[in-house]
């Protein structure tokens, strides 16, 4: 495939030239006619090699000529949902931050100074189902930066006073999030959909952060940063050979251990009939909407059909939701919809921030579009064409930088997708039929079981919402717990 690339690129260039010249020959200019585009450029997916290192880690290398840049990333399969002990939500993020606080041979200040002089930065973070530590550097500073990364990952000393400082910062951030209606909406939505027992419904709280000890951090670090669950991705100005040599040398002290975790999630709470969950935010200028329910995991065979369906519903600017609620009605600066994909049942969510005075009217329109996509407003051939074109032709953007390319390749391995995923993507999208779209819309946009979470000024919006008759209203606080009585406006601040 590599060998064909120059040939294809040449053929494409020729087609474009011919098409454009044809258009240039037309005289005079008719501005009412959209220019005819030439043939779509052929997608060139970067090639990569996969090797197994002696410590059990997988090494992926993709050479990219041009700029003297290297992207290096260690991805760890499994995240806070698999590795955080009960009651210690937040230990993963704190441990990642603690990696910058000093090693056996360097203080935190010395690590920071060394990285500044190399002109780069090492980023470490742990999400729900995967974590990563990595950097982008110039070619000439690659080995030196990798040496610092290895030192941070393997020799951190986790000083107790640093933990106290980072804990204090986390607590300030949690307090600030309580003022942020969008943050509140996201947290409450997750809690309603998944409940407190499912990892997807849990989050870092004041109590969990306060409960974390230095021993917890040390234990998490030992358990988590293991090569047996690691995918090391190097993209840029390197060869598979030189990258392997650098990595074997730089990570020589990282010895065998660990494995990929199982992703066994507890059962979801039983689906509830559709309800409006209202969180009071007195004086709010806007109401923050999150509407949805748990959806399928990433490996669902319905993935491609869902992507096309969602693009029509709310994935683009001119999708049904935004075209109606923002562009035609002017109720919002922007609304959208999407599916969160992972190993477990990620959420379908539609939402946005709505002018308080139009909260009821906007809910009516949201429901109209959701009911529309499941059948009341049939999907047209034109909508399907635009959605498919948009998805297929945006693929080159996934390879627009060393970092983007690294993410694109790594995600295939993490999600267990085939190596030729990008080469077959266009065909898989093209194969989606109108019947598929109807079926996945009905199945995943399950109108009867939608949770409608609205964060807004209860005094202003409750009566109008009630009058829509769309669903009964339940009052909850910013933690997602029922407000007792449910009649007096709560004071959440």
């Amino acid at each position: 495939m590599n060998r064909q690339r120059p040939h294809i690129a040449f053929a494409t260039a020729l087609l474009i030239t011919l098409a454009s010249v044809a258009s240039l020959a037309q005289q005079p200019l008719d501005r009412t006619k959209a220019p005819t585009p030439g043939a779509n450029p052929k997608l060139t997916v970067p090639a990569w090699t996969t090797q197994q290192l002696s410590n059990g880690a997988t090494l992926i290398v993709s050479q990219r000529r041009g700029l003297p840049l290297v992207s290096f990333n260690i991805t760890l399969v499994g995240g806070s949902n698999q590795f955080e002990p009960a009651g210690k939500r937040g230990v993963a993020a704190l441990t990642a931050s603690m990696l910058t606080e000093g090693t056996k041979s360097k203080t935190g200040d010395q690590l920071s100074d060394a990285l500044q002089l190399l002109g780069t930065n090492i980023n470490a973070g742990v999400g729900g189902e995967e974590g990563s530590i990595g950097f982008v550097s110039t070619r000439k500073n690659f080995d030196a930066t990798l040496a610092i990364l290895a030192d941070m990952m393997l020799n951190s000393t986790f000083p107790a006073d640093a933990l106290d400082r980072l804990r204090a910062r986390t607590l300030v951030n949690l307090t600030q999030a309580k003022d942020q209606p969008v943050a509140i909406g996201g947290q409450v939505f997750a809690k309603i959909l998944y409940g407190a027992d499912h990892p997807y419904g849990q989050r870092t709280t004041e109590a969990s952060v306060k409960a974390i000890t230095r021993d917890d951090v040390v234990a998490f670090s030992k358990t988590y940063f293991q090569p047996g669950r690691a995918i090391i991705t190097v993209v840029g100005d390197v060869t598979p050979l030189s990258a392997k040599a650098s990595v074997e040398k730089g990570l020589a002290a990282w010895t065998k251990g660990g494995e990929k975790p199982a992703f066994d999630y507890t059962k979801l709470p039983e689906l509830q009939t559709a309800k409006i969950y209202l969180v009071d935010k007195p004086g709010a200028a806007q109401s923050v909407f999150n509407i949805g329910l748990p959806g399928p995991p990433r490996n669902t065979p319905d993935y491609f059909a869902i992507q096309v369906m969602n693009t029509i519903l709310g994935g683009m600017f001119q999708s049904r939701l935004n075209a109606n609620i923002r562009e035609q009605k002017g109720y919002s600066y922007g609304v959208n919809s999407g599916f969160t994909y992972g190993k477990g049942p990620g959420a379908f969510r539609a939402g946005g921030s709505i002018f308080s005075g139009k909260t009821d009217a906007a809910l009516v329109e949201f429901m109209k579009e959701l009911n529309g996509i499941v059948g009341e407003r049939p999907i047209t051939d034109e909508e399907i064409k635009v959605a498919k074109d948009s998805l297929i032709q945006s693929l080159p953007q996934r390879f627009a930088s060393v970092n983007a390319t690294s993410n694109a390749i790594t995600s295939l391995v993490v999600q267990g997708l085939p190596n030729d995923y990008y080469q077959t993507y266009a065909n898989n999208i093209a194969a989606v039929t109108k019947e598929d779209l109807m079926r996945v819309a009905k199945r995943y946009v399950d109108i009867k079981h939608l949770a409608i979470v609205i964060v807004g000024d209860r005094a202003k919006i409750e009566e109008p919402l009630k009058a829509t008759g769309i669903a009964p209203i339940t009052h909850i606080d910013i933690e997602g717990n029922p407000v007792s009585g449910g009649s007096a406006p709560s004071s959440s601040n």
Binding site: L117, M316, P396
Partner: protein
């Protein structure tokens, strides 16, 4: 900066703390790695064109900048330049509403516009076979926007912009700070004294006639620069540009009255009550805009004061004394004016009064001794990498080339910026610290409602009252 589409909330937060309108000065490293090949020329109607070829990915960025921003508005019509940006997406003489999105996002590309105090821009990123479509779209709205503009379109976008204001400012903790600071920094009527988003009242007032007059003056080809960057054949691109843009008539020359730098006769101490639980302290000194050479040492100074854990303010306040949970310092510069700003988020057990004293102590020491050689070196070491990374994006390159062309008459200005930044000495930084950070300044405390006593030096602080977000949907 204010956009047609949304800015991610996470990004917005980073911006408020660290580096709102700072121009991209992360420009390069080893002298030979810094290069963006380009060519530039002018059409007879005054349109400046910049082309830069890069075949790495089969996409093209088309980017048009107009040299008009919120500073060109009249008092009483604030927010107009940005409202206008929205109107530019509602269709034009030969192209119905919706076509623009269909020929960009609908074919796997993207589009957006943005407005600052100084300029308004519009861009499309498209698969390379849609270059001609993008030129067709941009030329039609440059030449024929008014043909199909009506009050209904204007009103619909007016409501969207009001919602943008509610979402990004009014319903946002600390969201009105930039507005308060601008109004305090500049005299009434000064072109930088109002926010780009404008006031709710003014947005309601903008008439169709205002839109038309604004368009005729500022959206003429002689006030615009077109950049095309990415995978294309320059010979064909030039022919297409000539075909679509040559017949657009030249407009009047835009007058550019000189704008006075910010200058405070006396320091101001303000307190604003917001729907927040954590107070914040903002300190602003008037400095210079990005066209003055002092902007380079001021920018270098910002990364010596904050950004890394060994930066002066960060080390002193976040790590050593632990009075603060976060601190940011940055030189925020526009075409004509600039400010140096320090923002501090306290730890719960510490007061803003303590924080202000701690900031002052660090700054006094810095003024007295200037930066060390290592501090200076650290501040410059990241330049090469950030420049190389910016080269990975067609759109990023287009913005650099056009910005240089529009504000300096030189698309290759990024190279000058890079060289001048590398040339900054310890003495330069010490000089600008001693010159600007001793000036009369604004100290703004944002405190929870009913907690004015939490302000820094509360008894001396003057209360700021802001009009509440005006209710009222479209009529």
């Amino acid at each position: 900066m204010t956009n047609r589409r949304r800015v991610l909330p996470a990004l917005a937060l980073v911006l408020t703390l660290c580096c709102a309108l700072q121009p991209v000065w992360g420009q390069n490293g080893s002298a030979n790695s810094i290069s963006i090949p380009f060519e530039t020329y002018k059409l007879p109607n005054g349109l400046t064109v910049i082309l830069s070829v890069d075949h790495a990915v089969p996409t093209v960025a088309v980017n048009v900048w107009y040299h008009v921003g919120s500073k060109n508005e009249m008092p009483g019509r604030t927010g107009f330049a940005h409202l206008f940006e929205h109107v530019m997406f509602t269709g034009s003489g030969h192209i119905p509403y919706g076509t623009h999105d269909k020929l960009t996002e609908g074919v796997g590309g993207s589009n957006n516009g943005s407005t600052t105090n100084d300029r308004t821009n519009y861009y499309e990123t498209i698969p390379s076979n849609y270059l001609e479509s993008a030129l067709w779209l941009e030329s039609d709205r440059m030449g024929f926007l008014l043909d199909t503009l009506d009050l209904e379109k204007l009103n619909a976008q007016r409501e969207v912009v009001k919602n943008e204001r509610r979402q990004s400012y009014d319903n946002q903790p600390y969201g009105r700070v930039s507005e308060i600071l601008a109004a305090a920094m500049y005299p009434k009527g000064h072109p930088y004294s109002w926010p780009v988003i404008g006031s709710m009242t003014d947005l309601s007032e903008a008439s169709q006639e205002d839109v038309k007059a604004f368009f005729r003056l500022y959206y003429a080809p002689n006030n615009a620069t077109l950049g095309v960057v990415g995978d294309f054949d320059p010979v064909i691109a030039k022919k297409l540009i000539a075909r679509y843009f040559t017949d657009l008539p030249q407009g009047k020359t835009v007058e550019r009255p000189s704008v006075a730098l910010g200058k405070l006769e006396m320091s101001k101490r303000l307190v604003y009550e917001d729907a927040v639980q954590v107070p914040r302290l903002y300190i602003q000194w008037p400095t210079v805009g990005f066209k003055r050479d002092d902007d380079y040492p001021l920018s270098v100074m910002s990364s010596i004061l904050s950004g890394s854990r060994t930066a002066r303010l960060t080390k002193a306040l976040v790590y050593d004394s632990q009075l603060a949970s976060q601190v940011g310092a940055f030189q925020n510069s526009a075409e004509d004016v600039g400010v140096f700003q320090v923002t501090v988020v306290p730890r719960p057990e510490h007061t803003l009064t303590e924080l202000e004293a701690a900031v002052d102590q660090v700054i006094q020491k810095f003024i007295a001794e200037g930066p060390t050689a290592e501090e200076l070196q650290k501040a410059k070491s990241g330049l090469e990498l950030s420049f190389l990374r910016a080269l990975e994006s067609n759109l990023g390159k287009a913005n650099q080339l056009i910005s240089g062309s529009m504000f300096y008459g030189n698309p290759g200005q990024f190279r000058t910026d890079y060289q001048k930044t590398l040339a900054v000495t310890a003495a330069d930084v010490k000089r600008v610290a001693a010159m600007y950070l001793v000036r009369s300044r604004i100290v703004l405390s944002v405190v929870p409602k009913g907690k004015k006593d939490k302000a820094s030096k509360a008894p001396e602080s003057e209360t700021v009252t802001m009009l509440p977000a005006t209710p009222g949907g479209r009529s």
